[in-house]
Amino acid sequence: MNIYITGFGCVSPIGLNADENRKSLQASEDGLGKSVYLQSRYASLKNFGEVKADTETLRKELKFENLQGLTRTDILAFKAFKEAIENAHLLAEEISSRDTAFISASTVGGMCLTDELYNDANFLSSGSEYIRSYNCAAHTLQIAMFYGMKGFTNTINTACSSSSNAIMMGMRLIRQGRAKRAIVGGAESIAKYTVNGFNSLQILSNSKCKPFDETRDGLNLGEAAAYLVLEAEDVCMNKPNYGRIIGAGNSNDAFHASSLSDNAVGVTKCMELALEDANIKPESIDYINAHGTATPNNDLIEAIGFKNVFSKVPPFSSTKSYTGHTLGASGALEAIFCLFSLNHNELYPNLQTTNPIPGYCDSIVKQFTRNVEMNYIMSNAYGFGGNCTSLIFAKS
């Protein structure tokens, strides 16, 4: 059975809605820079992919002034979710139907309020309004409650591959008749917690990240929310759509808690599993949206993985050079970027990369290219804990 993507919505460092995101990609404009809203000593030292709006403005736009306990993660999630369901023209009764699943993802959840959390967790306050907001699943439950969703709801945390796994599970639920449609994606906001975490691992760059560059020196943390509406063929026959999800692969690298194995075991396996699941050959892939975090370890291993899977590596780029690494939201955000490519036959280049890793980057996309024949696109994500996921999208 075909599973179509009938709508999507996103908010990211390069745009407050899907349209703005595509325009930035077309113009090769990144959203990286010093942080304006983060309360941290690193705000002005490191580069970040920050959503260009403060939480209060976004809250007002959603008319949520009177709702208590909403974190920035929640607000970003609501904004992208709303755009996605409107874009797919879902009716209220379709959203609340038992047949509609909602699978979200996040790694930091409400811990974006790191200082409030510190106070609440150490009994230094009498309990803030956010006491029920820190959990990874808090945003999912807020949205499910707001829209009266009665179907399957879930939140996944496999670190940086979280929302890729949310998309994968939505596809699998529909395939096996456990749902007719699934709203899938993830939300993440920049947190003092994660900034210090990644900094302690010494993988935050002081400049704009340079995925696949020989001199790459780390990632830029980003924030975003992105949701896609997946619908089974039999419930969306007359609707416009943006393509199909046709395969996914999930593997574990089984090597190290925070770096990838030298011979790219997990990376290779997830791509092979996705191709097998989609029942297409490697040479059918027209473009790969790489995980490409710009850490020394990730990019080289990923490029080795490409060579393991493809006799001729297809064009690839990392759109993290526009948005930074949006962690739990990145899989879904980059899935939407893939759908832009697929629908408009255009390739978005890897930015900031002047000296690609020699011997591995012959097919890296260096400039914005139009009128490229696009039928199948792969999108990859790998996370801490060895969690690797690859997704394949096809033209409808």
């Binding site: 959390l117 009994f123 959990n135 990874c136 302690s200 691992l201 999930n250 089984a254 801490f384």
Partner: protein
């Protein structure tokens, strides 16, 4: 799917299974802490020293099960919180050292998927690997994932389980949110306390699930869940759930319910039992292991023992003379997230 082996580290003596022959530990106060086994021989002492409690318990319960299998085709875990103790340690480091030079160990271990990653690493397993973190339904969602994986024909054997730990982080936050009892109770009078709040538990329960088996503990037939239901909605969900599996309420011999002694929310269980299953035996488990978001994993564990045909000395809340061939496990988390698991002998 079939449960062919299982292991739990819990506030009871489940690791050596003496809990089932009457070795019941009485807990008092609001923290029911896990009785951890001696991990020597199971976990390398150097690794053990650096491991947070949730990872330690999860490996303690899960790794032996993996070692007993030739192949594992998937590792599926449910955990609302993951390594909270590591999380608060890292959080405190951030503040104490004013975002200075911090050690990454706590950060890396605090991510909820660290346990699934560790299990994969220790067993060199490169297969399907995922962590569901949907708070009070993380375990139910893990089971659904296992059904999907078996249904796709992509697995024959899966390691599936949960982990949750008590730390200052969740205990203090949940205390501020009014989750726990104000007065002192014990595990013997928790369920009859008739007051607000419950007690905090922890543990890790792990299962080997197989698509096919001739020798097994119990079968898991189906799973479902719903959020923010009305009472009518949960009752209708349970009836439809049984219908979908070609069963009527009379086909269920016993209920395993998530009673936790909280006078604000225990009525959900009583109403479902009284309305749909007035004749059935009722078993409880949170009076032994406390409340935590994925506690239903322990309910599933208890149900598997009840269905296994082994003689066990756990007393029901309500007796029935019918032999136990089919069990409905029903749990909710603060009345918000509800889950049902259908099991049979």
């Amino acid at each position: 799917m079939y449960i062919t082996s299982l292991k739990a580290i819990s506030p009871q003596s489940t690791y050596d299974e003496s809990f089932f022959s009457g070795n019941i530990t009485v807990h008092s106060g609001n923290k029911y802490k896990a009785l951890e086994p001696n991990y020597t021989g199971l976990i390398n002492p150097n690794l053990l020293r650096r491991m947070g409690k949730s990872i330690r318990m999860g490996i303690g319960a899960g790794f032996q099960l993996i070692q007993g299998e030739e192949n594992i085709d998937g590792i599926i875990l449910g955990s609302s919180e993951g390594g909270l103790e590591d999380c608060i340690k890292f959080l405190n480091q951030i503040v104490t050292y004013n975002e200075g030079t911090l050690t990454p160990t706590n950060f890396v271990q605090s991510t909820p998927n660290a346990l699934a990653g560790n299990l994969a690493l220790m067993s060199q397993n490169t297969c399907y690997n995922i962590t569901h973190v949907h708070k009070g339904q993380a375990f139910e969602n893990s089971l659904l994932d296992a059904f999907l994986l078996f249904g796709e024909g992509k697995a024959k054997t899966i390691l599936l389980g949960n982990v949750e730990e008590i730390s200052d982080y969740n205990f203090n936050i949940e205390t501020s949110a009014g989750q726990f009892k104000v007065e002192e109770t014990t595990s013997e009078n928790l369920l009859s306390s008739s007051t607000k709040g419950t007690v905090c538990g922890e543990g890790s329960t792990m299962f080997i699930l197989k698509a096919n088996a001739t020798e097994y503990f119990a079968k898991i037939l189906d799973v479902d869940q719903i959020s923010y239901p009305t009472e009518n909605e949960i009752q209708s969900l349970i009836r439809k759930f049984l219908e979908k599996n070609n069963l009527t309420p009379n086909d269920i011999d016993a209920l395993v319910l998530g009673y936790n002694g909280d006078s604000r929310t225990d009525f959900w269980y009583t109403n479902v039992a009284n309305t749909i299953f007035p004749q059935q035996a009722i078993y409880s488990y949170k009076n032994y292991v406390g409340e935590y978001p994925t506690a239903i994993a322990f309910g599933t564990y208890l149900a598997a023992y009840l269905l296994s045909g082994k003689s066990i000395s756990i007393l029901p809340l309500k007796h029935s003379s019918k032999p136990i061939k089919r069990i409905l496990v029903y749990n909710h988390s603060n009345g918000i997230q509800h889950g049902v698991i259908l099991m049979s002998a």
